[in-house]
């Protein structure tokens, strides 16, 4: 049995502490994603809390034969989109300090060069491409899971993902920093 489903059953049997396992499993990738959608750490954390409350409240409706992960992401992404629609869009980049605040100095150092460039480029991608990129690489969702979460076809997932990656490379090169891509084929 899917471990998530096992925890869901425990929660519904009255063990609310089993929810900690579920939150711990998804909180970081979801936070990383929402932060890049909202561009504001406090808003991202607040939204994530709301999402986990909402998911808990809806647990009795979860079809235990289905994928919990997809179900959770559908609620999460829809909640973010709904909430962001109500707010003014923010276009600034996330501060670097925020992005690396929980890391040791060594890790930050190793990360910095390439990641900083990449982060910049990710922040200027169109919303849909950025979201797909985040679902795929920060959250490790399969194509089918992304397709289900966003309600778009698998071909769309693939095409948008590839487009996003090509843009990243192009932008990085134009920005004077190359991480080794060669254009051919």
């Amino acid at each position: 049995m899917d471990e998530d489903v096992r925890y869901v059953r425990q929660i519904l049997a009255g063990n609310k502490r089993a929810y900690i396992h579920i939150i711990d499993r998804y909180k970081n990738p979801l936070y990383a994603t929402i932060l890049r959608m909202t561009k504001n750490p406090q808003t991202a954390e607040d939204l994530l809390q709301e999402i986990f409350f909402k998911v808990y409240e809806r647990l009795p409706k979860f079809d235990q034969k289905g994928s919990f992960k997809s179900w959770l992401y559908r609620i999460a992404i829809n909640h973010c989109i709904d909430q962001l629609r109500k707010k003014q869009p923010q276009t600034e980049q996330i501060e670097e300090a925020v992005l690396h605040s929980n890391e040791t100095p060594e890790v930050v150092l190793l990360q910095t060069e390439k990641s900083r460039e990449l982060e910049k480029m990710v922040s200027i991608l169109p919303d849909d491409e950025r979201t797909i990129l985040l679902l795929r690489y920060a959250n490790e969702l399969s194509y089918a899971e992304i397709s289900e979460t966003l309600g778009i076809s698998l071909i769309d997932v693939r095409n948008k993902l590839y487009r996003a990656k090509k843009k990243l490379r192009k932008n990085v090169q134009e920005g004077g920093y190359s991480y080794g891509v060669s254009e051919r084929g």
Binding site: Q10, R17, Y19
Partner: protein, 536 residues
């Protein structure tokens, strides 16, 4: 082969090429250093993306803070009902004879069985000599499983346990139990088969296993073996054998043969036996149709099968009758009930002091065979009470010829039927995509859902079995996925209700379709109640 396009290499990296394409590409890769280099780059790109985009992280206590603010769900005790009868299951009662208890043994058991977290029957038994402390534990992988207490009754056996770590901290006690992890063994160490087991969490810290002895011919002595290989998130091996001896419990048990029978409408009820055990009172009764009623229902069933097809009628037809009854003392005080409308403010059957209910039958349900029911109730508290069963309600399936035709574009559409005012609110397609990791083929799982809402004057009848027929006469099987009557009423005093139907067989929603009601469950409040004493 010329070098593949970059998208093809990306497909390869993402693992979405089919086997043939993958083989061709891999052959090329062997002989092309340029593409090997490209591939290496694409893999590194993915790593960098993952590395970058997974930052930052949240504090460790984020989850704790959320969970602290949540209310736990109420633990639902598993109630095994081997047939599908909808929400209202079988019959009811409470009552019994207070058992003589040796006060010297009282309060031997503490812990969870004396708390409000368990049902009242177990709580009452915890004060008697059928409850014993076990206090056996086993440790592996730093995790300790400790069985604390046992209640060994003739009707059920319950044991409580906790799970702790090296520091004595209580951990989540969930055990994903199956026939391998918990067994009841007889004196020859032979496993007792087909035993019904439930698990529930109590007060966040305790797990309680309950084994029902309703299916077992006779069990007097043996042991429960817990054999667990996964506990609190760790793999290991935890085995505990807990001796079980029902001698005391049999000493307290009293069985009264009732052998009372009556015909109500077209259903024959036989009250067979009452078993007064320490932790529950079990009523054993049988329901069957009279010969005439059986014949009539079978003819109606056959006519419906001819019209809509056997495969549509057969699995969903609500074959069995049910009764609603209450337990009273001689002063008319109601001590327990199930499936009756004892509370006029409620739009659905209610229960009180019920511990569980089971149904058994032989043969095929469509032969309208008799059903043996065993319902268990909290034991009575006043030893002097003389108890009676009062049968006041009958539920039975009724075949219906009602139908309504509608066009999806004209929804919502309202209709009246048998005390219901219902509105068909929507008909919608719903697509679920399978979550296979593979790229293609993708399994699409499509259903069409119909939602209805409205009000019911008459309480309880359940519009149970439906079918959809399109203009060409094609019939679609329908699952009744939700049939609710709520407490809320409208200004006319009618109960709010909702029905949800779904079908998996429809490729497209037709321009026009007809909903046929095939069978409903009818409720018949009895003009004359039937009263039988529970002690003879």
């Amino acid at each position: 082969m010329v070098c593949p396009k970059e998208d093809k290499l990306l497909d390869y990296v993402e693992g979405i090429l089919d086997e043939d394409e993958k083989a061709i590409l891999e052959r090329h890769l062997h002989s092309c250093p340029y593409c090997q280099q490209q591939l290496e780059f694409l893999n590194k790109e993915n790593e960098l993306l993952a590395q970058t985009l997974k930052f930052p992280t949240l504090p460790e206590d984020f989850a704790e803070k959320i969970v602290d603010q949540l209310e736990p769900y109420k633990s639902k005790k598993k109630r095994r009902l081997p047939w599908i009868l909808g929400t209202a299951a079988s019959a009811l009662i409470a009552g019994g004879i207070l058992l003589s208890v040796n006060p010297g043994f009282a309060k031997l058991v503490g812990g969870i069985f004396t708390s409000d977290s368990v049902d009242e029957g177990l709580r009452m038994a915890a004060d008697t000599d059928i409850a014993t402390p076990v206090n056996q534990s086993v440790t592996d992988a730093g995790i300790t499983l400790e069985v604390e207490d046992l209640i060994a009754d003739t009707t059920r056996i319950a044991l409580s346990y906790r799970v702790t770590n090296d520091h004595g901290k209580t951990l989540n006690p969930f055990i994903d139990f199956g026939p391998e992890s918990i067994k009841l063994l007889d004196e020859e160490n032979k496993e007792i088969e087909d035993i019904s087991i439930s698990w529930a969490l109590h007060d966040d810290d305790y797990g309680i296993f309950e084994l029902s002895l309703a299916d077992i011919e006779h069990f007097a002595k043996g042991m429960i073996r817990l054999d667990v290989d996964h506990l609190a998130g760790k793999d290991g091996h935890w085995q505990i054998d807990i001796p079980v001896d029902l001698s005391s419990a049999y000493g307290h048990q009293k069985v009264v043969e009732l052998n009372e029978s009556i015909e109500i409408e077209d259903v024959r009820i036989n009250f067979n036996q009452v078993k007064y055990a320490t932790s529950s009172t079990e009523i054993d009764y049988t329901l069957e149709y009279t010969e005439d009623a059986k014949k009539r229902l079978q003819q109606q069933l056959m006519a419906k099968e001819k019209q809509f097809g056997k495969e549509i009628i057969d699995p969903f037809f609500p074959y069995f009758p049910m009764i609603g009854f209450r337990i009273e003392n001689s002063g008319g005080e109601v001590l327990g009930y199930e499936n009756i409308y004892a509370d006029e403010n409620r739009g659905h059957p209610v229960s009180e002091n019920v511990i569980g209910g089971r149904g058994f039958w032989d043969g095929n349900p469509r032969d309208l065979v008799s059903v043996n029911n065993i319902d268990s109730f909290v034991p009575k508290k006043n030893a002097d009470d003389e108890l009676f069963i009062v049968v006041d309600t009958l539920y039975r399936p009724t075949v219906s010829d009602f139908s309504i035709t509608f066009k999806p574009e004209e929804l919502p559409k309202t209709f009246d039927y048998n005390g219901y005012e219902l509105t068909i609110d929507s008909i919608k397609e719903k697509t679920e995509i399978s979550l296979e990791k593979s790229w293609l083929p993708v399994q699409r799982h499509k259903t069409v859902e119909i939602k209805m809402s409205g009000f019911a004057i008459q309480k309880a009848p359940e519009l149970r079995l439906w079918a959809i027929v399109d203009k060409s006469g094609k019939v679609y099987a329908v699952n009744n996925t939700g049939n609710s009557v709520f407490d809320e009423r409208d200004q006319h005093g009618r109960f709010k209700c909702a029905i949800e139907l779904s079908t998996e067989e429809m490729e497209e929603i037709p321009d026009e379709l007809t909903l046929h009601l095939i069978a409903e469950r009818e409720v018949i409040p009895l003009q004359t109640e039937w009263r039988v004493p529970l002690s003879k």
